[in-house]
Amino acid sequence: MVTHVDGNALAGPLSEIFRADMTLATGECRHCHDTTVLARALVEMDEAGFAVHCCECSHVLFTVIRTPERTWVDLQGIAGLEFPA
């Protein structure tokens, strides 16, 4: 069952992969070039992972897929990520 939440909800799951609070990172959407904090992105989430969509154009920014063997992170839809110091 998929739930629709915002990027805030990623703070926990992404802390397993990245050290910084990713929800405060700003990213540029490769499709529409909108740049905003990931906390504002639209997230489709279920037990196996999530797809993060640009809040302006809905294109996929990145996905995380988790299986018992491995975790895949695909950052294809983000042109750049900037973290506050």
Partner: protein, 197 residues
């Protein structure tokens, strides 16, 4: 070590038998693009197949439309996890296009308008497994979805169904295309979760 939660058993959900592992259903058509949407007029459009001998077979839009056209109903599975079941398309089978093509090479590099490439084994394009598709859900294929025509190879992850298809070039080796050079799997079988290297 995790702490057992007294009295918690959880609810097991049966995964849908129609979905490959790690996929979830969507009603929308989210689009993952490597670059801007090319703008191609069907008056200028052409599709070609080039073999190792240098021989090139080319079709204009009108020539493509004169070939036998099939209705295709299929599920599509995107590497970004969404699957769309029961999609409907119209297109020309690659079997029709390869009928007079003489090649001993086993691999194909698909080239798109805009420069995108993806590689596939020839046998994954034949025997009713692939089409040049130009209609989706009863409407001409929208440029954002790869129109005027895209390659449609639904048994593999959808990045193999090259949008804005321009031509196929025969290769003797399974050389990686654009996404495959960027970490995506050379083959891409959703049922074996072949997403990345």
């Amino acid at each position: 070590m995790a702490v057992i939660s007294r009295g918690f058993t959880g609810r097991r959900r049966d995964s849908s038998p129609d979905l490959p592992p790690g996929q979830f259903l969507t009603e929308d058509f989210p689009v993952l693009s490597a670059g801007p949407t090319p703008d191609i007029d069907t008056a200028d459009w052409e599709f070609s197949i080039r073999t190792e001998s240098g021989q090139t077979h080319t079709w204009t839009w009108d020539q493509l439309m004169a070939l036998p056209i099939e209705d295709i109903g299929t599920d599509i599975h995107c590497v970004t996890r969404w699957s769309k079941l029961g999609t409907s398309w119209r297109g020309v089978s690659l079997d029709t296009l390869f009928a007079d093509v003489d090649t001993t090479d086993a691999y194909v590099m698909a080239h798109s308008y805009g420069g995108y490439t993806t590689n596939l084994p020839l046998e994954d394009l034949l025997d009713g497994k692939a089409w040049i598709a130009f209609e989706f859900d009863g409407e001409p294929l929208h440029p954002e979805h790869g129109g005027p025509a895209r390659l449609l190879v639904p048994h593999l992850y959808f990045w193999k169904s090259a949008k804005w298809i321009h031509g196929l070039v025969m290769h003797s080796d399974d050389d990686p295309g654009f996404w495959e050079q960027n970490g995506y799997h050379l083959y891409g079988d959703p049922w074996r979760e072949q997403r990345y290297w």
